[in-house]
Symmetry: C2
Subunit: 236 residues, 2 copies
Amino acid sequence: MRRADFKRKSRVIVVDDNYDHASGIRELINLEQDYEVIANAGNVNVAISLIKKYQPDIVLMDINMPEIDGITAISEIEKLGLKTKIIALTGYDDADLIYRAMKIGAKGYILKTMASAQLIRALDEVTMGKIYLPSVLCSKFFEYFQAAERNEKAYNAAEDEENLLNYLTNREEEVLGLLTEGITYKGVAQQLFISETTVKTHVNNIFQKLQVNDRTQAVLYAINKGFGSRKKAKIA
Amino acid sequence: MRRADFKRKSRVIVVDDNYDHASGIRELINLEQDYEVIANAGNVNVAISLIKKYQPDIVLMDINMPEIDGITAISEIEKLGLKTKIIALTGYDDADLIYRAMKIGAKGYILKTMASAQLIRALDEVTMGKIYLPSVLCSKFFEYFQAAERNEKAYNAAEDEENLLNYLTNREEEVLGLLTEGITYKGVAQQLFISETTVKTHVNNIFQKLQVNDRTQAVLYAINKGFGSRKKAKIA
DNA sequence: CTTAAACTAAATCTTTAGATTTAGAACTTA
DNA sequence: TAAGTTCTAAATCTAAAGATTTAGTTTAAG
């Protein structure tokens, strides 16, 4: 899986507040013909300026660091929008950490306790544009991921008892749609080419069907039930 | 990784509309001392009633089936709330399919083209409560997952230009909080033990700061900016 | 052919909402 | 101490919002 010799070495920056550990990794990586460590960083701020300056191919990021944590650091680096790929590195296989690191864009995640072969393997895979997560960690990730999804579902299911929106007529839905954009009776009347009194009639019917007393409550009900789903009314 | 002999065999149901393929898997699994296929199902409806009846330990679910697709099927089975673990099975490594299957709770995902050892490995891992996703598919999953997260971020970033909510005073935030529950001036006044005119003053200041004209727009602005974030005002 | 929704609209009336101005008390900061 | 914020409150309006009743069309269902 080694790349041909005529390709330049992949440039790596190691971020770890433990100097000894960083040095160990550096030496380990420099033994490989395909990689070279171009810098070490002992804290996040130094790391970010080095990364901005050198735009390395890969960053090995220790997650457990003082001041700014590694997760935040990854997030910051991702914001730079470089091609730099980040591999997270920790001592423990905390599901939450793995989930968060992968969520914000880490391309790999390995444990410090893993064999050095794992590290090189991770570098190889990530260099080839893949994502590397050892199966143990992969399993951990999914525990967390699926638990999170289940919570989402349970959360939404709670308000799925009965959706009063289903009782609305087409016209009433249209009117409600305009209400959820913060438009007045007059405005709705103009947009639908009907009189203001008609709008009032519709709105009153909507209130009764949704069992609310005013437009604010109607709008809140509609939004909570996912009315208009992903459009999110724009104000400003 | 085989379990001790005194433990009963894990009971497996195979769901696949291709009878030959299902039979092949059945024979393959029955060669293992730890597993036995207790039923085959050629379509989703049969599968679900069999699963309800036998509550197997594992379901091997082909995703590409006529009528109801396998993803929906997994979702339906998960809704039953059984201990049954589902392993998805497809011909292609479609990132979207993998993502959706894992998202709704599949405990494993393997390709039909993979060696039979992979299948047994998946059964073993899943039986032990882990999640099994071969590294190739794991990588595919994360491509999709991270792309989805990036889109989320981009979506939210668009309205992060400036959050006018930051200019609100504490009291104004309180008032806005009550407005986002659909409460009237009088109601807010009672809850905060202040006069109605004071509430009006606050509300007017809120309108100016949020650059809106009425409470509906203020509430919409607040919700869009994540005011109260995950609480979602309850009406009804 | 009749019944029942659904959409339309008017009239009337009460209640909130919202704009605007002014101002006192408490607290903070230069 | 003076200036500035924040929270409080009142008075006075105007403009919306909302409740209620009645009623004429149209269209689909029986």
